[in-house]
């Protein structure tokens, strides 16, 4: 987790870690321009990551009893499994 928070907006460490994990989970490298296979793989991976975030947030919000740290661990495990295995762009995200 990087960045800082002013004292007036200090969040719980678990909350900051969770928010950062969500940001990382949704942050995929762009596909190489003109590579249709990479573009489709990127789109599919994005949909998969988004679905994982939604499912995890459903768990936190509707059941409201799940520990945020479990969700962070779940994101990391999922990201390690569903990686960007397509040709990526040189351009910044």
């Amino acid at each position: 987790v990087t960045g800082r928070l002013p004292e007036a907006e200090v969040l719980q460490p678990a909350a900051v870690e969770l928010l950062a994990a969500i940001r990382d989970h949704l942050n995929l490298p762009l596909y190489a321009e003109g590579d249709e296979t990479a573009r489709q793989a990127w789109a599919d991976l994005q949909a998969l990551r988004v679905a994982d975030v939604v499912a995890s947030l459903d768990g936190l919000l509707t059941v409201s009893a799940r520990d945020a740290r479990d969700v962070v661990a779940s994101f990391r495990a999922f990201a390690a499994e569903a990686t960007a295995d397509y040709t990526t762009s040189e351009m910044p995200r």
């Binding site: 800082r4 002013p6 969770l18 940001r23 988004v50 945020a68």
Partner: protein, 163 residues
């Protein structure tokens, strides 16, 4: 479940008749929730192949996937304002499925990307700049409304056809 094991399971599933409705291709559960298989594999009709997102109910040890979710445990450790932000994030990215046309699926991919960018901007504000949660939630909600669903949405039929 390892990737070769999943690939094998996919191969076996595809040798069987396509289910008439959404169900996990590993265990056949029709109760969900599911996630699309990471490989992007589809049934002959074009419907996405799904697996239980929280682990298959009867053989969890054999079918546990990295995306599997534990059953809830422990008390929520998050403040209500953080939960408000999480709800806004979910609302932003929980976009409906599109009907099975290339144009509509492309439009959904585009919207997902736009909404994900909005979420990342919101999270950057909170994490890196210490922005107040109330303002971030308000702006994220506005950005979500500014990027409405503009494709044909898949509507489940009575016989449970998957998109």
């Amino acid at each position: 479940v390892t990737r070769p094991a999943l690939a094998s399971a996919l191969h076996v599933a595809l040798s069987q008749p396509e289910p008439t409705g959404p169900e996990c291709y590993l265990c056949g559960s029709v109760t969900g929730p599911w996630l699309p298989d990471p490989s992007g594999a589809r049934w002959p009709s074009g419907a996405q192949m799904l697996f239980c997102s929280r682990g298959c109910p009867e053989s969890a040890e054999d079918t546990e996937h990295a995306a599997a979710k534990d059953t809830p445990r422990g008390a929520s450790t998050l403040d209500s304002d953080v939960l408000g932000l999480l709800a806004a994030i979910r609302d932003a990215i929980d976009v409906p499925r599109a009907v099975l046309t290339t144009a509509d699926e492309e439009a959904r991919y585009h919207l997902l990307h736009q909404r994900a960018v909005s979420v990342r901007i919101a999270l950057n504000s909170v994490i890196d700049r210490g922005a107040g949660l109330a303002g971030v939630i308000e702006r994220l909600t506005e950005r979500t409304a500014d990027d409405p669903v503009d494709y044909a949405v898949w509507v489940p039929t009575s016989d449970g056809d998957a998109p």
